[in-house]
């Protein structure tokens, strides 16, 4: 229970769109950051083209759009450190974990050691994760 009698629920944000062709990815990130203020138990899943959101070395100078990918690095500071990437989606796109941004958080229960936030998951693990949630928000 949080101060003020709020209940902590498990929220999963499911991201399935690539970053610049539509507004979904940016909107999802905005909602995640706003939601972080409510101190819920938040997880993020990246599936299908959603895995492209986490690609390293994004550079939007040539398209006149804001490169919002550095913002994902801030998630750890908001205690959002459960980031699940669908292994099948990554492999189908010729990508591996090394192609993604190195997102980390500081573990306050382990002397603030820096740890990776991203976990690769298979279909079964992802399905199980989804079933544990109180709320699933799709983008």
């Amino acid at each position: 229970m949080e101060e003020g009698g709020g209940v902590t629920k498990k929220f999963l944000y499911v991201n399935r769109k690539a970053p610049y062709g539509s507004i979904y990815a940016l909107e999802s990130l905005e909602v995640v950051l706003i939601g972080a203020a409510f101190e819920q138990d938040v997880s993020l899943a990246f599936i299908d083209d959603g895995v492209y959101q986490l690609k390293k070395n994004q550079s939007t100078d040539g398209i006149g759009m804001k490169n919002f990918s550095p913002t994902y690095n801030a998630l750890g500071d908001y205690d959002i450190n459960k980031i699940y990437v669908d292994k099948d989606s990554l492999e189908q796109r010729g990508l591996s974990l090394d192609d993604l941004m190195n997102l980390t958080y500081e573990d306050e229960n382990d002397n603030y050691a820096e740890k990776p936030s991203i976990s690769l998951v298979n279909s079964e693990e992802l399905a199980a994760l989804m079933e544990q949630q109180d709320v699933v928000l799709s983008f």
Partner: protein, 101 residues
Amino acid sequence: MTLHIVNKSPFETNSLETCLRLARSGHCVLLFEDGVYGASKGTRFEALLTEAMQNCKIHVLLPDFEARGMKADNLIAGIETVDYLGFVDLVTASERVQSWL
């Protein structure tokens, strides 16, 4: 039970395929809006739907199906039709609703 709702044609996005890959045994799927095209007989997705029905119940929102020129006898065998009230019943009977945009 999780209710998965799909509103895009399987020919337009892979939402239905990913939904069926990640739905677990005992879950329900509802096809609505352009998602209803996935429920019709004779498409290249028929085998996928038929296989999914071994573990999951699949529903289609009939008003959306009929609006697109199809009738209940164009449905893949085993798919159940619901009206708007049936949609609401499915939602209230579910622990969570997962939307596949």
